[in-house]
Subunit: 332 residues, 2 copies
DNA sequence: GTCGGGGATGGGAACGTTACCAACTCCGAC
DNA sequence: GTCGGAGTTGGTAACGTTCCCATCCCCGAC
């Protein structure tokens, strides 16, 4: 009923627990014959080492577990990132605890506290809009931290992001090049760093064309597909509705595309690519970022820190790609 | 540099470690004044309880951690399920370790072994095609197991699935009702239980119309979007190509829809709904299952087992819904 | 024959925490 | 004045493992 321990295995194999420890952990100094006897006892009892007890005692304790904290695991962008992180971790024999924050600072704190209480070796973090001073003490205690997708204000850690501002600028410039002058901006919370960056890129492009920002065309704080659909409806009710849309993440893009009718003549560029974005009845161009590369890069950075890299925090910026799709294009 | 322990807190607060333990864990029998002194010492030192050591010692040890093992976390279906599981776990103050198997029995074993070595309270498992006898010993040791999406052959555990066969039958019946008689089947590995069920449903519908299975129209073992696209190309090269397609999961559906040209006259019904499936340039009907309900149900079942429910294993079957979309329809 | 060395094995302590029990204080009741 | 009980506190052992050191054995070298 209870799980067998090394003592039980030792008794069954007629050796000391110490020898079992060595045999089970593959350390040298066990004769082949003894090792075989231990292995048989292990098999017979169905013994499995208790890694929690192990990590408690080991000289340099490491749980071989990292925590991944994202905004929303159900979002395909973060799902791809998570899978990529998991693959990288699996390659190192490491496990991944996941947590979604919904971008709520309180939930972020709870999740991170639960992770550090379990002695994770490191945290891969998509920071919420809240402060992150509470990370300082775990970091002094040895927990490594790497930020992905967004930096954490006032926290000196490695950060992996993409060129949000330049990507947004290119997207809006493309729309301007198509002759549009009334380009709406549909964004998530302005408190989120990526959103501020993308909004800045939007302004960059407008400004380069000598266009001022039209507050009526700018909508922030869209947290869901239905928020985005509602914002779209409001924009179309304007006296002079926009002729093009810039949507700043996949959720908003999906909300907008879902609400557009087939006959609608409006050009859309969205941040984030997604499956079949090239097969929609209304054409959709996208600023594509690579969540797999994002996750893999961040994970590698984290593991190099866990392995003892003490150099100054790095900031890695990956590039986005504008994919133009339209009636005349072959898609991509 | 090193993380403080209860001893350090005890020294700082001028009490015994035992009292710190009580105070930190909110147990009764600590005077308000002492509790306050302990709390201040905790804050000052940045102390956090080591839950691994705690669980080692506790009377009925529970790590408040469950393991979630899915085929592929990047698949939107499993991503939604994972998020739903995580929410359920969060509500209980429980953490979630995730692992993807790629449907490889070896990786499944590795992941599960790593999970049980860390003493997870339970496993939420999308079983691979491999055997699962290796789960018996952890289960005797107290690890609860619930299967989701598919049953595990020869394992007496709770299982949450959907009515795959009936859903597939309804999908193919719909195509037959549209006048199609050459309906291709594009499926994943036949070894996967859901795929066998969906294939059986396909045959049910054909049989009810007095149609035999045409081996030329049936393709198994499609593991990726490109596999699906290639299978589609091969089918269209047939002397008498199919006029309708039944695709048996989201990956295959996406592969097929991505490869279809805009002018193609072919009806498609796919298993699994996904965002904007109603906005594709080629209409797509789907058999929709609810991954959120699947995950939540399975998680609740698992937690009730962890809480001590020893009744006979249950088998829960959730219902699918056929969503018909076409040029004449409003979509859904 | 003694000695030395290397390989195998075991004993005891410790990791950070909690279970269990004992002890102490304080107070009212007999 | 003694007793008893409730409330608070501390000491000791133990959870399952590994680190450190000692021991034992065998064998070859002097």
């Amino acid at each position: 009923m209870k799980r067998p321990t090394m003592k039980d295995v030792a008794r069954a194999a007629g050796v000391s627990p110490m020898t079992v420890s060595r045999a089970v952990s593959g350390e040298p100094g066990v004769s082949p014959g003894t090792a075989a006897r231990v292995e048989q006892a292990v098999r017979q009892l169905g013994y499995q080492r208790n890694d929690n007890a192990r990590n408690l005692r080991r000289k340099n304790p490491t749980t071989s577990t990292i925590g991944l904290v994202v905004d929303d695991l159900a979002n395909p962008f973060y799902a791809l990132m998570a899978r990529s992180v998991e693959d990288e971790a699996h390659r190192r024999g490491c496990l991944v605890l996941v947590g979604s924050t919904n971008d709520e600072p309180r939930r972020e704190r709870e999740v991170i506290a639960a992770f550090t209480a379990r002695q994770v070796d490191g945290l891969l973090l998509v920071p919420t809009i809240g402060g992150h001073g509470f990370l300082r003490q775990p970091m002094e205690g040895g927990t490594r931290v790497v930020c992905v997708d967004r930096p954490a204000k006032g926290l000196a850690v490695d950060t992996v992001t993409v060129d949000n501002r330049a990507g947004a600028e290119r997207a809006v410039r493309h729309l301007l090049g198509q002759g549009h002058t009334r380009i709406a901006y549909l964004g998530d919370r302005f408190g989120i760093w990526t959103q501020r960056e993308r909004h800045a890129g939007y302004l960059d492009a407008l400004g380069a064309h000598g266009l001022p920002e039209d507050p009526a065309l700018v909508r922030h704080e869209l947290r869901s597909r239905s928020d985005a659909a509602a914002a779209l409806a409001a924009l179309r009710g304007l006296e002079r509705p926009p002729t093009a849309l810039f949507t700043t993440n996949d959720v908003i893009t999906m909300g907008v595309m879902g609400a557009l009718g087939d006959g609608d003549r409006v050009d859309v560029v969205g941040f984030d690519d997604f499956p079949l974005a090239d097969r929609l009845s209304t054409p959709l161009s996208v600023v594509s970022q690579d969540p797999v590369a994002l996750g893999a890069t961040a994970a590698q950075l984290l593991f190099s820190r866990i392995d003892g890299d003490r150099s100054a925090p790095r900031s890695v910026v990956l590039l986005t790609r504008l994919i133009v799709r339209g009636p005349g294009r072959a898609g991509s």
